[in-house]
Symmetry: C2
Subunit: 888 residues, 2 copies
């Protein structure tokens, strides 16, 4: 019995429920669980014996609609004829003639809608009973207005279905090559493994019969083709919700105290199905891969800290002997300033802007490739362990639907309504709401436009606040100008990002709904792509602005660029915008993660749960008592519904973007991500186990579209990092100075080299500072950061030769960096095989065993036939030969 | 009978021959062929009835070794003990003790080698007879010293094996959706289709039973694991050659007169197997895709021709009023020259260097992506039509081997020899000849070095020839200097390329042999990669030199760069090196294709055939008569062996490189390639059908490593084209001049802008021209093509601001071009689904049919069991349930 682990599923099928769960629960352990917790404790029927496998909920019928009950068959007849006429139209036939008197009834369809629901419900339940499932109704006993349909699948039904489906059965044991190193590693990492040991270490894997796979697929197809779905019942409102029940809380997973342990992926997959299992496996791999990235990031940061005192440019800036007077940072209100006041910023910049950063961004580009490869291998391994190798992607379906080819209920309803409407007006228009698609797809660019407008608004805020603060006479306000502006702006950005994130999520859903995609799969994909574009633009536009546009098109003293009347474009401090980029990244990452994780993922579900309870109008004491009396399925009813994995993935993808895209400017990003993810895993686990109804197990072979998005991001990351290093940081100008212009090959004189001269008499009228004597002496010539011709050249203030030389070097660096890193990534990709060596070996071995089995089978057959016919040695196997000649 | 097309294979197995052929010949058509040609005409046994399916040849034993025949069992005993001791060693046992007297015999192993061969041969033949194959020997009847072993597989053996292997059997017809458009297209293109109509249009495809696939694989595995191969027999020299026979010449394919028609791919695959079928399908797709590329290329070229008279820069160069004196092109020997003498080159350059070229290289980058996508779809379609969808890549094997995991015969021999040698000396070294690998892999860089040395030699040749010609007093020689130098250099390059190509092919093979790869698959891959690297470097290094290095590091007048003593680096004519690049590309493409195709692919096999016949010492009349008496299998013996597809693919890949990599400089490349390929297809067809022995059918699902190489090339092409446009052509300088420097926004003055000034008094001593008065007047200031500071600036001859600005623009263009084109390629890639819509529909339909079949089968089974047991409705299908409770 210990050997035989049977596929067990709450397999409710034949009339509408698909194979809802593919749990492969060890029969023995399952029985033990039941015994341990006592038969009364588990969610069972009234008799306390039969287990509740699945629950459907529905609104209990209002009394006034009872009178219609008698006429439900007449109504059904009308509906049937309606449908018939629709199908005639769809197949290109003529629209039904006006003579048909029953067609006129469609205007009253809302009236008999309720009855139709009722009828379909009864029909559905009858069908369920017919296939051997046992049902129990629990109508409005404790929760008014809501009826529960509890479903129990008896053991013999499950077995029959399992046999019928020819689900993979263990036929023979295969022993893995127990590698000593693996065992050693396992020993060392033992404390990291969760205590769910029966599954680990998996040295014994059952050989699954591959032939059965084929039949399994056939069964899927059969179901897909033959029956209509629970989805359409749900969509039509016959049932209000459908969910299997929560079984056990896993202390070894959904708890913060085990954050350092591996996840019990096998158990998660058993409980939630492959799709959610893959999500957590992916999250695990991602988190694991973040550890080396975080370590290297910290080392790079520490290198920056260690070398900050040896950095000649910041020493030059901080040196009071270099008495450099800078031009004012804004018109009129600002005055001249001493470069050495930027000393702090310059030193801080060095922490993030040093040669190690270049190394780190190359490292991170390769890291991204390694991560993708590592995940591919892990996925392959999981596919093998979970027996998904023969499972085709086609079968993937989101929660409760019949697979990608099945039309969504909403789509069917829409089409039906459309057709009815069209039929009244003119029969010339097609069935598909193309106009909707065209009209609303154009909203996406609009939304992105809104995002940019928000960014621009924040920029304007910063400019005006800064000017206002400069203007104020309060000296403390003045001294805190920079910090105040930067801090408030970043926080405002963060708040806007978070608010817009929610807005965009809703907008994307609304847009996709308006498009009325045909299938659930296309619905999901469209929604993901829209959400991704909007949320990504939202999260990254302020960062992109800071990295690539801030301080670029400012013009020069005496010829500044003005936007919208009189707003001068923002300048960067001397050490570049890198510092501000860092602050922005830091605040966005930390804030987004903290707020979205804590507030939205924990807080809001709690509030929702509270509100849902509040509706039943009881005080807390009553609530307590009431809770005690509630059975499991009734408790679960109060949990929020499972909304899919998209939000979880989306959050992680945005984080992955932060980690890879701008890693050149913020080496600590992987560390932040790592810390967040360690919490995130347990948070999600908690949420899935306790906060939402248990999702229906869905099969999946891979993480789908998310993989493509990750790949795309890691490709974009290369070019973005190349630009950050060459344009945002001072890396290239320093190199160029050192090797082309420096008189002694050192960095001495670099700061002077980057500063151009400006004659204060060249200020445009009305832009000169109001307080020219602010520094205590009269300024004749001030300096500004740019490469421009000197005052005494023929063309003063023109871009200088140095500017073009440095620009060429920056661009050359981008080309070299991008192509070298891409080449290295491709090489790494090529170097690491997609299928782990041991898995391919294993598959090969299984094949050999299969051959043995097959040969024995053949031998047996041959013997049998030999005994029957007593012919020559070759005859029994040459059946085709005996047929073919007779035919030709 | 017309419906039933049986798998027929010259299935010679069980003792060493793998499934040699997987031809799926329609039994009926096959019979007809036999009848039409008469039973006596076909290659048959002596009785004129039994068809020869396969031929093995071997050297007939010399008389003196007959005495050994008696002792062959004694020798065999020695060999056995040798092997036993070897296996002991391999399994880590102690080396055999010195006491064993038989071991001492291994020093004489060359003596009994012949006998061993003989013994193994007899053993092998006995085994063949045992499985029901019929053999006939033809020992030295007509061709002295060579024996033929003709093998006939009787029909019942074939049928038995087919049944045993459960090869895909047609079980039910499926009708395609006969799309009207397709039919119309088919009608229009009717004359283009080859007249092998039974295969086309394939509206009826037999539904193949997927279950049988599994078993087929099992059979493969079985064979792979259980038996040793004919390869080792061949490798050991027991047999000298193994080949099936040529059947029919396809007039509808291997003839130049049908060059405009589609290829009968189905028939090719039937005759040669999937691997060669895929090659020709790929070649067909490539040629087809070249048509639009060639058309657009010609249009671009014609645009250049049409606009050449409106091109302001070349007008300025040709205008005699612009009396510009240029600096000498070489030291001392050359003198000053007038810019207008470069008029012809400048006008010719415009043909290839105009804005349309930029469009064309973007077009070609997308074309390459489209081509890859188109091929992927075509491959998918062929996989479906050829029933390869379930076939796993693992099974692919080159010609006669047991699949990738089977050790190559040479490897086994090597290891055996090594072991014996090691045993004599010291038993501490491992079995694998690692030292070889390490020693000789380092030769590849060396070879590339040789290639570059050759290129450099040609450069030196050009420089010296030019100087010599300048020096000569003959005026006609002088006037033809440019043409002579360019022409001879290109031809010399071509000759060197072609010679080195052959050398490198041999070197790559030699290197790979020295590495002694373990399996045939790894052997093939290593060989391909080595050959590709060497041949590619060989073909492209002169082109790369011309495109990117020529005229770059020449220095400036008065400060030229000298290499190896006194050779000044070559300069380009005013219009850039693009023209020379064009000539080089043109000559390389045309010459390589003409010489390699005609000389090597047609000529050399003919010569080889002649030589092989000459060996039999007869004059031509005798030869004729002799030929008449020869039977089919004897004639085939004189044909060359099939050497694999690698050379054919290699040639095409190099051509693909020429077409995509430097298309920006030579828009006519696709046209040349197209013309070549139209001939190439028929040439290869002729070669395969008439010039070489019929290759053994090998299965393949895709074109393997070649696809990766193509992908790599099309990626590299983007960046190479970006560099060609921005650095080799004058596109960017023109744009920059027009928008940054031109006083009136036109191109007027561009030529003057590109030329710097040089004061002749600044010539280094000994470099001034010997004939300063060559032009008839004294030159004070001459011009040279470069962006440098003017004479009257502070830093004359320094790189000017314009230089850096243009460099920055060039680099920016590279970045923009590369990323835009890559993005567009990815978009095209994403847009076009990998599986054609109709094929995926078809697969889906087949699945539905399979479900129907399966359901019927299940029903039948259920009925049967119901009758047997007479149990309840659920019991019959719940066998596992009845087992499980009894176990638990």
């Amino acid at each position: 019995c210990t050997d035989l682990s049977w596929w067990r599923g709450a397999i409710l099928l034949s009339t509408g429920l698909k194979l809802l769960q593919f749990e492969k629960i060890n029969k023995c352990s399952y029985d033990t669980t039941l015994t341990a917790s006592g038969p009364k404790q588990g969610p069972t029927f009234q008799d306390g014996q039969r287990r509740v496998d699945y629950v459907l909920t529905y609104h209990v019928q209002k009394p006034q609609s009872v009178r219609r009950k008698t006429s439900r068959f007449a109504d059904y007849r009308i509906l049937r004829s309606l449908r018939r006429s629709l199908s005639t139209m769809r197949s290109g036939g003529t629209p039904p003639s006006k003579e048909d008197p029953e067609i006129a009834a469609h205007k009253h369809r809302l009236d008999y809608h309720e009855d139709d629901k009722r009828f379909r419900q009864t029909e559905f339940e009858d069908n369920l009973r017919e296939v051997g499932l046992e049902l129990e109704k629990d109508e409005g006993n404790k929760i008014p207005g809501i009826g529960f349909l509890k479903i129990h699948a008896p053991w013999n039904v499950l077995c029959r279905e399992a046999e019928f489906m020819k689900l993979k059965m263990p036929t023979k044991k295969v022993c893995n090559v127990v590698e000593r190193i693996n065992l050693f590693i396992h020993k060392v990492t033992a404390p990291l493994h969760p205590k769910v040991e029966p599954n680990r270490p998996q040295n014994v894997k059952h050989l699954s019969h591959p032939f059965s796979r084929e039949k399994q697929h056939l069964k899927f197809d059969l179901l897909k083709m033959t029956f209509t779905g629970i989805t359409s019942l749900l969509g039509n409102g016959v049932y209000t919700a459908a969910y299997p029940l929560h079984d056990i809380l896993y202390e070894e997973w959904a708890s913060y105290s085990v954050f350092y342990k591996y996840q019990p992926i096998g158990l998660i997959r058993k409980y939630f199905g492959e799709k959610i299992g893959l999500y957590f496996a992916w999250l695990g791999v991602y988190t694991q891969m973040l550890i080396p990235a975080a370590i290297v990031g910290v080392i790079v940061f520490l290198y920056g800290c260690a070398t900050v005192d040896n950095d000649i440019p910041s020493m030059e800036i901080c040196d009071p002997r270099n008495n450099i007077t800078m031009c004012p940072l804004c018109d009129r209100a600002c005055s001249y300033w001493k470069l050495k006041t930027a000393c702090g910023t310059a030193r801080a910049s060095h922490l993030f802007d040093n040669p190690a950063t270049v190394f780190f961004s190359i490292f991170m580009a390769l890291w991204a490739t390694m991560f993708m490869e590592h995940w591919k291998r892990r996925q392959m391994r999981l596919n093998y362990i979970w027996d998904l190798t023969g499972f085709e992607e086609e079968e993937v379906s989101l929660c409760l639907c019949f697979g990608p080819d099945h039309h969504r209920a909403e789509y069917e309803i829409q089409v039906m309504q459309k057709t009815l409407k069209k039929q009244d007006m003119s029969p010339k228009v097609g069935l598909f709401p193309i106009t909707h698609v065209q009209r609303f797809s154009s909203l996406v660019p609009l939304q992105i436009g809104v995002t940019f407008a928000v960014v621009f608004g924040v920029i304007l805020y910063r400019i005006s606040i800064r000017a206002a603060l400069h203007m104020s006479s309060n000296p403390t306000a003045r001294s805190n100008i920079r910090a105040t502006v930067k801090g408030t702006a970043a926080v405002i950005n963060l708040v806007i990002i978070i608010i817009m994130d929610e807005v965009y999520g809703a907008v994307a859903r609304w847009l996709t709904l308006l498009e009325v995609p045909k299938t659930d799969k296309s619905f999901e994909e469209r929604l993901i792509i829209k959400t991704f574009v909007l949320k990504f633009a939202n999260a990254f536009s302020p960062i992109v602005y800071l990295a690539f546009f801030r301080g670029r098109m400012v013009g020069r003293p005496g010829d500044y660029v003005y936007v919208i009347g009189s707003y001068r474009m923002e300048e960067c401090a001397h050490a570049g915008c890198l510092m501000e980029l860092c602050i922005q990244l830091c605040i966005t990452m930390l804030g987004k993660q903290l707020i979205q994780n804590n507030l939205f993922e924990i807080g809001i579900p709690k509030i929702k749960k509270l509100i849902r309870r509040r509706k039943s109008d009881m005080d807390s004491q009553q609530q307590e008592d009431y809770n005690m009396t509630l059975q499991r399925h009734e408790k679960d009813h109060f949990l929020g519904p499972f909304v899919g994995l998209s939000p979880e993935y989306m959050e992680m993808i945005i984080q992955f973007g932060m980690v890879t895209l701008f890693v050149a400017s913020f080496p600590l990003a992987p560390l932040f991500a790592l810390l967040n993810n360690i919490i995130e895993i347990r948070l999600d686990a908690k949420k899935f186990v306790t906060e939402v109804r248990r999702p229906i197990a869905a099969r999946a072979k891979d993480i789908g579209i998310w993989y493509n998005l990750l790949r795309g991001l890691s490709k974009v990351a290369v070019i973005v990092n190349a630009f950050v290093i060459s344009f945002t940081s001072d890396f290239i100008p320093r190199l160029v100075y050192q090797y082309m212009y420096s008189p002694d090959g050192s960095m001495h004189g670099f700061v002077n080299h980057t500063l151009s001269y400006f004659n204060v008499s060249d200020f445009q009228p009305g832009t000169a500072p109001l307080q020219p004597m602010h520094l205590g002496y009269e300024v004749q010539i001030c300096r500004y950061k740019d490469y421009r011709e000197t005052l005494w050249s023929n063309t003063p203030y023109d871009l200088s030769k140095e500017f073009w030389a440095i620009l060429a070097c920056r661009l050359a660096f981008v080309i070299v960096f991008q192509n070298v890193v891409m080449l290295m990534s491709d090489f790494v990709d090529w170097l690491i095989p997609d299928i782990p060596k041991d898995i391919s070996l294993q598959i090969h071995k299984e094949k050999i065993l299969m051959v043995e089995l097959f040969m024995k089978e053949e031998e047996g057959k041959k013997l049998l036939r030999d005994n029957h016919t007593n012919q020559g040695p070759f005859q029994p196997r040459s059946r085709p030969a005996s047929h073919a000649p007779s035919k030709c």
